[in-house]
């Protein structure tokens, strides 16, 4: 529908939209738009389609074709731009993930419009959209707007209020015909990372982070144990990654992952600016550090000055007690 707010679907590669789509659809609806889910995939399940409707999408534009997996920017962009020309959406919103960041950037260039990446706020100002986004390591906030539409933006996960799932709501499902060409690149293979059994860092509602105070790679097991109890992802500071204690994919900060969980627990993390850049939009911040002068205490909601090797086991026990109740 002309004037709709497109929500580009991020899925689990198994036919279901990721939970973060509740936030994107919720925000599109809240902005006064008609939320339409645009889903490029090789396989969508009925449950997945129903879920998008339950979150408030009025319509699903399903582009289902083997050519859309694995994702390749040129293939997706041609299909989406083709559809955008027919549908004239008012806005194109997507969650921040590694592929969506690239995809919407390339799409915005194809459409000749502006892009606001990694937004943490969106608001209508009269008949224009204004996006708020952190800049300069999160030290400043920048508000930006578009010279013309469609307004293209990516939304930082865990920041926008998710739509509640209402099983009674359904979306009409359309399967528009679009170009699904082959990409210039040739897919070779996908190498899976060893699973930690814990949630993915950028998606987790609770994140535990270990810094230089962890003293060595062997000690992260106590954080993983706590992660298992409270369902948290376990990350690390740059100091710990640069020391070779954790692979880079676990790094939180400016040259790592940006996270915005409901609860962040930092153990032996000093709180260097480049770490804060990756986690300062967390809702509740807890810091445990031996050094009462550690900068992380300046932004922490709760702090304990003490030895993490005493605090972690005690805290894990206390969480266990609480959650068993």
């Amino acid at each position: 529908m002309a004037g709709a707010f497109w929500c580009i679907v991020e899925d689990d590669r198994k036919g279901s939209p990721k939970k973060v789509m509740a936030e994107v659809i919720g925000e599109a609806t809240r902005l006064g738009g008609t939320a339409e889910a645009v889903w490029l995939t090789d396989k969508a399940t009925d449950e997945g389609l129903a879920q998008l409707g339950a979150w408030g999408a009025t319509r699903v534009l399903l582009l289902e074709n083997a050519a859309f997996a694995p994702y390749q920017s040129d293939v997706w962009v041609s299909a989406a731009a083709d559809l955008a020309a027919k549908e004239s959406p008012k806005a194109i919103l997507a969650p921040v993930t590694s592929r969506q960041r690239e995809f919407v950037a390339r799409l915005a260039a194809r459409l000749g419009v502006g892009l606001a990446a990694d937004s943490v706020g969106l608001a209508m100002d009269g008949d224009r959209l204004v996006a708020t986004r952190p800049v300069y390591a999160g030290k400043l906030l920048s508000r930006v707007t578009w010279a013309k539409g469609p307004w293209v933006a990516t939304l930082r996960p865990n920041v926008f209020r998710p739509a509640e799932s209402q099983p009674g709501k359904t979306a009409t499902v359309d399967r528009p015909a679009v170009t699904a060409g082959s990409g210039a690149a040739k897919f070779v293979e996908r190498r899976e990372e060893a699973s930690t059994g814990l949630p993915e860092l950028t998606e987790a509602e609770i994140v535990i982070s270990g810094g230089r105070g962890m003293k060595g790679p062997e000690n992260y097991v106590i954080l993983e144990e706590m992660g298992g109890v409270i369902g948290a992802a376990v990350g690390a500071s740059r100091a710990a990654v640069d020391a070779g204690w954790r692979p880079h994919r676990f790094q939180i900060g400016q040259t790592g992952r940006t996270i915005s969980p409901k609860l962040y627990l930092g153990f032996g993390v000093s709180g260097a600016i480049q770490h804060l850049a990756g986690m300062r939009t967390s809702k509740v911040i807890v810091a445990i550090n031996k050094d009462p002068e550690a900068p992380i205490f300046k932004i922490a909601d709760y702090g304990i000055v003490g030895d993490l090797f005493e605090v972690v086991p005690a805290l894990t026990q206390e969480f266990k007690r609480l959650l068993e109740k």
């Binding site: 892009l115 800049v135 400043l140 930006v144 210039a184 690149a185 897919f187 509740v284 807890v286």
Partner: protein, 259 residues
């Protein structure tokens, strides 16, 4: 093989940032400027490709005001052969798309076979220029790459991009654009010889008119910049470990409702 590396000069992470009067720009006095860290991975990778092949040329390109020459000079000191500075008041106000168009025009003029850039610049963190550059050029691109191997005849590059939960490998026909993720290499420090040699290397100034570009309207405009609102003061929980831990969990459950 000619490789172009796109770099951006940004304030050092540790620099304090202030909004200038008018609320639309940063206060630049006292800022230490550096090459954006992700771009250093791109420079390093380009140099390694050239060294491995035993031939070729690495050209560093950057858009910005006069001070950007310093950043280009650091790339020359690392080992880039020459540099191009997109230096024109016409580019005083740019967004990712106008930047991508300017870079694309110079890359076309150079006839580069491979373009490398950092995955994002750490000032505005938009992370869009590499992909948009590929779009303007009509080339394939791969973002957040952790590894790459250019084949012997310089026709394709096999690159692996970091995605949630794994690494995806693709063969891209050249020319192509790749954006570097941290962890793909360890950027070298310039040697004294490199620093001395850099002074003699060419930094060519290029204006919009040299590229046949006219006035390009920015598509994303700044409404305002503001300092981050301060977080409400936190609370350091006192007492011995068992007491403090009990109180922390109580507060997280009952006051913050975070667990």
């Amino acid at each position: 093989m000619k490789i172009v590396v796109c770099i951006k000069q940004v304030p050092d992470t540790a620099t304090q940032m202030k909004v200038a009067a008018g609320g639309k720009a940063i206060e630049t006095a006292g800022i230490t400027w550096i090459v954006s860290p992700y771009d250093e991975y791109a420079v390093e990778e380009a140099l390694r490709i050239k060294e491995k092949r035993g031939q070729g040329e690495v050209v560093a390109v950057s858009l910005g005001p006069a001070r950007v020459k310093e950043a280009l000079r650091s790339c020359l000191a690392m080992g880039c052969d020459r540099a191009i500075h997109l230096n024109d008041p016409a580019w005083a106000e740019v967004d990712t798309l106008t930047t991508a168009r300017a870079l694309a025009a110079v890359i076309k003029q150079e006839g580069a076979q491979l373009v490398l850039a950092g995955r994002q610049a750490i000032d505005d963190d938009m992370g869009a220029v590499a992909a948009q550059l590929a779009e303007v050029l009509g080339w394939p691109c791969l973002s957040w790459i952790m590894q790459e191997v250019v084949d012997a005849d310089g026709k394709t590059v096999r690159a692996g991009r970091q995605v949630e939960g794994g690494l995806e490998l693709f063969d891209l026909p050249l020319p192509a654009v790749l954006s570097a993720q941290k962890g793909m290499n360890e950027p070298r420090y310039p040697t004294l010889k490199g620093i001395m040699g850099a002074k003699k290397k060419e930094i060519r100034d290029v204006k919009a008119s040299d590229l046949g570009l006219g006035a390009d309207q920015v598509q994303l405009t700044l409404v305002g910049l503001e300092a981050l609102p301060p977080r409400p003061p936190g609370r350091v929980i006192q007492g011995d470990v068992p007491t403090a831990v009990k109180e922390l969990v109580r507060a997280l459950r009952e006051d913050a409702k975070a667990i």
